[in-house]
Amino acid sequence: MGRLAQPRFALSSNDAAYPACLRDLSDPPETLYVVGCSELLRPGLGVIGARRATPYGLESARRFAGWAAASGVTIVSGAAIGCDRAAGCAALEAGGRSVAVLGCGADIDYPTASADLLRQLRTSGAVVSEMPWGAPPTRWSFVRRNRIIAAFSAALLVVEAGLPSGTFTTADFALDIGRDVLAVPGSINHPESRGANRLIRQGATPITDVSELGQALEVAGLCLSAADDPLLASAPTDAIGRALLADPMRPDDLARALELDIVTVARRLGELEMRGIVVRTRDGRYAMQSASRARV
């Protein structure tokens, strides 16, 4: 691995540049290792979620992180596979700013699947860690890392979480230091949504669209510039399109729910797939392609 060209520095807790928000923690990191811009080390919107994400979770992460980033809010995330990475990518795609907090050294590309994202963040955002340069990832370091994500979040948005889930530790840290916890509600049927729904039952603010997110961010003390919802859905016309907009579904379930013949459903799905409007997920369900929500 070559040496990184980007600016890198270590901030000890005595430094004037040491982020004030970290002092809210009961055990703030002694030293914070940073690659990238130091200006970004202010509270932003934390976006976290399951690694084994469903299309719905990825879609929510992209949508809300993309919108918040476009509105000038820094997106803080863990660069993990799944929702975290989707949030980071969406922030950069929207031309916004993003910070990744790692559980290994800030100069390590981990997870490897996020290497591209991390490279971009080191140039145009920031990658931080309390682990020294070159420290390998360990199991416990990720739980410790979560408290830093919480500290950097003026508000913490949980886009998708199953049960049990590592996102709960981050949410707990956030509550301990008085940060707002927001959650995207999921289907009551899907096991991968149970965690997020439970957070809402326990008092997290449900976020169902960007205006609600905007209000929640203002309450948390972040100022927003105006931005459009990039994925605002226009009303889809046919029943199958509408059903998929709500939830990814299997052809059998669609046919039963809509009381349609399987051949009709199969042909319509094939047509939508050919036009790139729906995609088949790895678990055999059909989901609305994110970019095409407005086109159905």
């Binding site: 084994r52 596979i81 199953g162 049927n189 899907h190 096991p191 991968e192 299997r250 052809p251 059998d252 046919a255 039963r256 399987i262 051949v263 199969a266 042909r267 319509r268 799905l269 094939g270 047509e271 797939e273 050919m274 036009r275 790139g276 088949r280 997920t281 790895r282 678990d283 055999g284 369900r285």
Partner: protein, 496 residues
């Protein structure tokens, strides 16, 4: 000096080759020898024949007995030579009239008490006898199957003792009332609308089908019902398939009644078990599934080398084994139905149980099957576990006979158009689709934007052709293509 010749046959592949059994009884030191490249079972005939002849009340000549099996260079296998050897010796010593065996092929194993026992491959022997214009002599138990061969006279011989009465039994009457074939019915499957549709398309077009789903979702249940919606075997197919079963020593009566075979080898099956092999060569599961269904459950668990042997028969409809003692050709034209879990733990995408597999592990599991074999799976369909509430509330599904009627109509339509879609390829397939310019332009655009491989295009077109056949449509239109796109393989989801 006394000589006699009786006709027999030996099995090579699924064919019985005629063999002359020549007996020579001459003065000299008493002894009994068999020459002519027989295997151990043939050589052991000496002791069985001697005891059986005596037990039946005949004399075994106290002289030098030599039996030659001609043509001598041909290797001969099995115990079917017992009876012809005994008949040849009895004829040579004039204990039975030569006219009895003059134009007959005899086959049967002898017990020490003179009883004639059945041997595997009667149907092959019957065909060989019919080809040489002979009648077939054998035990009654095996002659039932031989009735399937037209124009063949059969005579039964259940014990050597019967020869002392001087006459053989006349041909047993063919059992015309065939037993009602017991094939599971589709109406026992509720739900699974998409998978049922895929099964119907597979039956109508002769396509191979891969079912992907968690354990206990009903993949095997569905697969077992495929033979019930396929058309019955026609005369030629019956004989071809029954021949393989007969040679393998399996009961061929269901096949002769027209039921397509359904073979479901376990995933520990070896290459030889699947393709055939051994010494003497023995047909494998692929050949036993000839004109029927080969069902491979847990596809990725089969050894890669066993899976690769599927490829040649799937192209050629037969496979040739080349061994030290020569080459044998076994027919193997089957519809492959395969089932697999979506991931190593089996629960990827299951609504109830979470999957514990890492992405890489799932990818490795799926790629174990290998591209060339995956390319031959025209239809890939997801089969999911049904919610218990729905299972209980669901009305029984459509019965096999109804689906079968549609399959028959579709196959007739396809035959009128130029043949089943599964066997089409290249330019032939394109012309069979008769797509309008706009449809084909649209499809080309999709194929490009969705990164279809060349094979994926062919498979989609084939399936679309069958879907159009099901609709009774001469031309494939965009709705047929749209449905076909949904049955594309797993590579679509695992690309990138």
């Amino acid at each position: 000096m006394a000589q006699a010749t009786v006709y027999a046959a030996t099995i090579a592949g699924v064919e019985a080759l005629p063999v002359e059994v020549q007996a020579d009884v001459s003065s000299g030191l008493p002894g009994f020898g068999i020459v002519g490249l027989g295997d151990t079972a043939v050589l052991e005939a000496r002791d069985r024949v001697r005891s059986a002849v005596r037990a039946a009340g005949f004399d075994f000549p106290n002289a030098r007995v030599l039996v030659n099996l001609a043509p001598a260079p041909l290797r001969k296998h099995g115990t079917g030579f017992d009876l012809p050897i005994a008949l040849a010796i009895l004829t040579a010593t004039r204990q039975i009239p030569a006219a009895l065996t003059q134009s007959a092929t005899a086959v049967g194993e002898l017990a020490l008490d003179g009883t004639v026992r059945p041997v595997a491959g009667t149907l092959a022997y019957a065909l060989a006898a019919a080809r040489s214009g002979h009648e077939l002599i054998g035990p009654t138990a095996t002659l039932g199957a031989a009735c399937a061969v037209e124009g063949l006279a059969c005579r039964s011989l259940d014990a050597l003792q019967d020869l002392r009465r001087g006459a053989l039994g006349s041909a047993p009457l063919c059992s015309s009332g065939t037993p009602a074939p017991n094939v599971p019915d589709l109406c026992e499957v509720s739900g699974h609308a998409a998978a049922r549709r895929a099964l119907e398309i597979a039956a109508a077009g002769g396509h191979n089908l891969l079912m992907v789903g968690p354990p206990g979702s009903g993949k095997t249940l569905l697969a077992r019902r495929l033979p019930g919606i396929l058309p019955a075997l026609d005369e030629r197919e019956r004989l071809e398939t029954a021949l393989v079963h007969s040679v393998a020593g399996l009961d061929e009566s269901a096949v002769l009644a027209g039921v397509r075979p359904f073979r479901a080898p376990h995933h520990t099956c070896s290459v030889a078990g699947l393709a055939g092999g051994g010494s003497p060569p023995w047909p494998g599961e692929m050949s036993l599934a000839h004109n029927g269904v080969l069902f491979l459950d847990e596809l990725p668990e089969f050894s890669p080398s066993a899976l690769q042997t599927l490829r040649q028969p799937m192209e050629d409809g037969s496979l040739t084994l080349v061994r030290a003692e020569g080459r044998v050709r076994y027919p193997a034209r089957f519809t492959l139905i395969a089932a697999m879990n979506p991931c190593p733990c089996g629960y990827l995408g299951d609504p109830e149980r979470p999957c514990r597999c890492a992405d890489g592990a799932v990818r490795r599991y799926i790629t174990r099957i290998g591209g060339p074999l995956m390319d031959r799976m025209d239809l890939v369909v997801r089969v999911d576990r049904i919610d218990p509430d729905l299972l209980i509330a669901a009305r029984p599904g459509e019965s096999s006979s109804k689906v079968r009627t549609r399959v028959l109509t579709t196959r007739d339509f396809a035959a009128g158009r130029g043949g089943l879609a599964a066997s089409l390829g290249g330019a032939e397939l394109l012309s069979a689709c008769r797509m309008r310019k706009r449809t084909s332009a649209e499809f080309t655009r999709t194929a490009r934007s969705q990164h279809f491989s060349g094979r994926a295009v062919t498979r989609t077109l084939r399936v679309a052709r069958t879907i159009a056949d099901l609709d009774g449509a001469i031309a494939v239109d965009s709705s047929h293509l749209a449905e076909a796109v949904g049955y594309r393989g797993l590579e679509a989801q695992w690309a990138g």
